[in-house]
């Protein structure tokens, strides 16, 4: 494994902070020249990536103790690799442009260069902004799991980062904070079937990601599913099936039409099936896991936890 890939696995956790400090600040600027459908298509790969990441890494076992105290603090990192066809979309010139033209242009993850369209009748030029030219998107979040009561445990995810950025005049940007909150629980199914050769459980999880005090981006996701695993002395293969629902709103201001107006991009709510296969490693109090997730996008997650 190259050092680059080792770094990626170990430090995906920095991504949420790193991206927030600069890239998120620029998303609103890049969107400011779009007023509707272009904005939705421009942001669509990011929506899919956030949706996939939020649904990953929620568990690393099908086992939930029937009773007794246990607690574990984990850091879970999730990475989505973008497909090439997500780098562009068919943009349409905004309605103030003299003629309607369609053009293949970058999405938020696409090439950095802007694309220009010229109206031959008037010579007016419309520019579609470039993207961040990224191949993948990572999120990382700490989570705390506590149990068990009647074979049930609860998990909370939370991270909050101040991403206010100092401007040239000493003031701060309007971006504000980034926060991710999630709460859910799992209930042991295998406790009802003593002869079952694997551990099995059912899960429900809710999450909310917010970027910016002015709700630049608000995403919500729910997952409901079942997990199974088989515990050996150190290793524990696991898998799961889930139904994920996800929706996202993006709100920003533009004065491209002559007066400042607020644009609200309301992305369609999506429901997808979600298959997970992973392997956990247990070294006493230390727990490691890695998994692949197949849903609307293929994504990967890894975790490091301490506890019982």
């Amino acid at each position: 494994m190259s050092i680059r890939k080792v770094c990626a696995v170990a430090f995906a956790g920095l991504a949420i902070v790193a991206m927030s400090a600069h890239a998120h600040a620029q998303v609103e600027e890049l969107l400011s020249s779009y007023t509707g459908a272009n904005g939705v298509a421009y942001m669509d790969p990011l929506k899919d990536a956030i949706g996939s990441n939020l649904s990953d890494g929620l568990y690393m076992s099908g086992h939930v103790p029937r009773a007794g105290f246990h607690a574990r603090l984990d850091v879970r990192a999730m990475v989505v690799k973008f497909d090439d066809d997500e780098r562009t979309f068919m943009g349409v010139t905004e309605d103030y442009f003299p003629a309607e033209f369609s053009q293949e242009v970058p999405t938020v993850i696409g090439d950095e260069d802007a694309v220009a369209v010229t109206d031959p009748g008037t010579g007016a030029v419309f520019l579609f902004p470039g993207g961040f030219n990224i191949d993948n998107f990572a999120l990382a979040v700490p989570q705390l799991t506590i149990g068990s009561v009647m074979g049930t445990e609860a998990t909370i995810r939370y991270i909050a980062v101040d991403i206010g950025e100092e401007s040239n005049d000493g003031g701060s940007s309007e971006l504000g904070n980034l926060s991710l909150f999630g709460i859910g629980g799992r209930h042991s199914i295998s406790q009802y079937f003593p002869g079952l050769p694997v551990d099995a459980s059912a899960m429900f999880f809710y999450q909310r990601l917010q970027i910016g005090d002015d709700d630049l981006l608000v995403a919500q996701g729910q997952s409901f599913g079942i997990q199974v695993s088989k515990r050996f002395p150190i290793i524990e293969p696991y898998g799961g099936l889930a139904i994920d629902t996800f929706d996202m709103d993006v709100t920003y201001k533009t004065d491209v039409t002559g007066q400042e107006e607020e644009i609200d991009l309301d992305f369609d709510r999506e429901t997808t099936g979600h298959f997970t296969a992973g392997l956990g490693l247990h070294f006493g109090f230390l727990h490691l896991n890695g998994e692949v997730n197949i849903a609307s996008q293929t994504s990967f997650a890894a975790g490091l936890g301490l506890g019982l």
């Binding site: 430090f11 600027e29 400011s32 010579g123 030219n133 993948n136 004065d255 070294f283």
Partner: protein, 206 residues
């Protein structure tokens, strides 16, 4: 054996932490586009007016837009017209179809054919009620380019002068009368797109 394994894992994580940020972040120079506009306000009163004029400090408007977006002039690639728009912002008098032109520095830039002047009536160069004139665009874009060159040459100095003298002329169908006079305010605008380069660190871990 177990403690040794944990120690090795711990050392590995610490060593990677030192290298973490540099291997995670990559720098990009993204071509961003700031949308802005230069509006001109018009008034029509009574029943004999068929024209209005105004002087617009376009340089100050663009400079304010750049300040609001925190854009360094050195990063700007171009400023150019992408369209035009109009809107009736207030009307309490005669209602009529309005057809006319808007000139900047005596060069025709916009022609309009607006179905009425009721409050809120709006249109763009994309919906057929407003037409951009190519000679006018060439003239204004040339002025914008000269402004940008001066701005980049002295980014910390005063805003270079860019003042447009606007003139609007129109005919009304049916025309206003002394018993039913005009009383409305409206704006026209030229939509600008400002292309600039922004450096951003993005996570791209794989």
């Amino acid at each position: 054996m177990r403690s040794r394994t944990l120690s090795i894992l711990g050392l590995l994580l610490v060593s990677l932490a030192v290298k973490g940020e540099s291997c995670l972040l990559e720098q990009r120079k993204v071509s961003a586009v700031l949308g802005s506009s230069i509006p001109a306000e018009w008034q029509s009163r009574g029943f004999t007016e068929t024209m209005d004029d105004s002087t617009i400090d376009a340089g100050a408007i663009i400079d304010e837009a750049l300040d609001d977006a925190d854009i360094d002039p050195a990063d700007i690639k171009s400023i150019a017209i992408a369209g035009g728009c109009y809107e009736v912002v207030r009307s309490s008098g005669h209602d009529a179809q309005r057809e006319g032109t808007v000139e900047i520095d005596d060069v025709l830039v916009l022609s309009f054919d607006v179905p009425n002047n009721q409050t809120g009536t709006a249109g763009t160069s994309g919906d057929g009620t407003l037409t951009l004139n190519s000679a006018g665009l060439t003239y204004v874009n040339g002025k914008l380019n000269t402004f940008l060159t001066a701005l980049k040459a002295n980014p910390d100095g005063p805003t270079p002068p860019l003042v447009f003298t606007y003139k609007a002329e129109w005919t009304s169908t049916p025309p206003p009368t002394s018993g039913d006079p005009d009383d409305f305010d409206w704006i026209t605008c030229i939509n600008l797109q400002i292309e600039y380069e922004v450096e951003v660190d993005v996570p791209n871990p794989l």
